[in-house]
């Protein structure tokens, strides 16, 4: 019990005082090999919409995964439904209200190793001015000298007021939305 606790405390300190020089390393993301998309069901039809513009800042060192940190900023106006008219519509007030809330963001609060190539991430997700605590599993693997982080985060769109008024009807657009992401980042 005691050694375990000591270890937990040690890792807590490590993550609290982690800097790019000790424990974690700031990685450079490769936008061409990174993607963030929202998958939702519209009248039971699965539809995927990509966010074309986002930035991810990841501090990760495979030797010290517990010291890792991640934050992601997504330009809400960059959501692409495959139709310019629909893209304009979802930037309006009832949906993302991109004029008032141009960014959605995620900031990790804790990242814990959960077996080979797996991490459990907890953090704060902010969309349309609403912040919620979220946790999700993340896989990490090395690919061509870089790290590839992949995961899915299911959220409820109505918890963030995405789709107001008549769009609250979940028989039209389901409440559950899965945020699918893949971030490729490396030291070079």
């Amino acid at each position: 019990m005691k050694p375990l606790r000591a270890l937990a405390l040690a890792s807590l300190f490590a993550s609290a005082f982690a800097t790019p020089f000790a424990g974690a390393a700031a990685l450079k993301t490769d936008p061409a090999k990174s993607s963030v998309a929202a998958v939702f069901k519209q009248m039971n039809v699965p539809v995927e919409a990509k966010f074309k513009s986002f930035t991810a800042a990841i501090d990760y060192d495979a030797a010290h995964p517990e010291a890792a940190k991640a934050s992601v900023d997504i330009q809400t106006a960059s959501m692409d439904l495959g139709d310019p008219e629909y893209n304009r519509e979802v930037s309006k007030k009832e949906w993302f209200n991109t004029a008032q809330f141009p960014k959605a963001s995620f900031v990790s609060t804790s990242i814990k190793p959960a077996g080979a190539g797996k991490l459990n991430v907890a953090g704060k997700l902010t969309i349309k001015g609403k912040t919620a605590d979220v946790t999700f599993p993340l896989t990490v693997k090395a690919e061509a000298g870089k790290q590839v982080f992949e995961g899915q985060l299911p959220i409820k769109r109505l918890a963030f007021n995405i789709g107001e008024g008549e769009w609250k009807d979940t028989s039209m657009v389901a409440d559950e939305v899965v945020i699918k992401f893949r971030v490729t980042a490396g030291t070079n």
Partner: protein
């Protein structure tokens, strides 16, 4: 005069009503500006109806292959029966081409078709932003072609009913007039 077989008559009128309804819904839904729940609902209904037309057209083609329709009366000029056969052939072609072009248009747009919101139909092609406008235009013009041919078909039927009075239209009416 010999009438069409009952399955042929039932399929003809069922498909006719569905095509008119689906075509009209297509014009209405694409006229709705922006994005509204009604618009999305109409799009789904339109796709379900189109898939139904495709399924019924398949039944109809199979029935047509095994059941020969009644022959035209000897009084009908040869060019007219050739024209009628050609028109019917094109209508059959479009009964397939119109829903199929719409189906692939939807797939190219990245929206698979889930029949009645229950049965996911095969995603035969991936979303393709370059192909999408081409299939959209194809679907539109095939529909305009179908509308023109249906108009011709209806005009010809009424010509036989009102001018020739040769009983040709009666062969396909849902009720016997004699």
């Amino acid at each position: 005069m010999q009438r069409y077989s009952l399955p042929a008559i039932v399929l003809h009128w069922l498909i006719a009503l569905l095509i008119i309804g689906t075509f009209t819904l297509g014009l209405v839904m694409t006229d709705i500006p922006g994005l509204t729940p009604t618009k999305l609902r109409y799009f789904s209904w339109h796709k379900w109806a189109g898939v139904t037309v495709l399924a019924l057209a398949t039944c109809r083609l199979l029935w047509r292959l095994r059941s020969t329709p009644p022959a035209y009366p000897g009084t009908m000029p040869a060019w007219q029966s050739r024209a009628a056969h050609a028109l019917h052939g094109l209508l059959y072609l479009l009964m397939f081409a119109v829903p199929l072009s719409g189906y692939f248009y939807s797939l190219a747009a990245g929206v698979p078709v889930v029949y009645f919101g229950l049965f996911p139909l095969p995603t035969l092609i991936d979303a393709d932003p370059a192909l999408k406008p081409i299939l959209g235009a194809l679907h539109y013009w095939l529909n305009m072609g179908l509308a023109a041919l249906v108009a011709l078909h209806v005009l010809a039927a009424f010509k036989h009913l009102l001018i020739d009075r040769d009983g040709i239209m009666h062969r396909m009416l849902p009720f016997s007039t004699k």
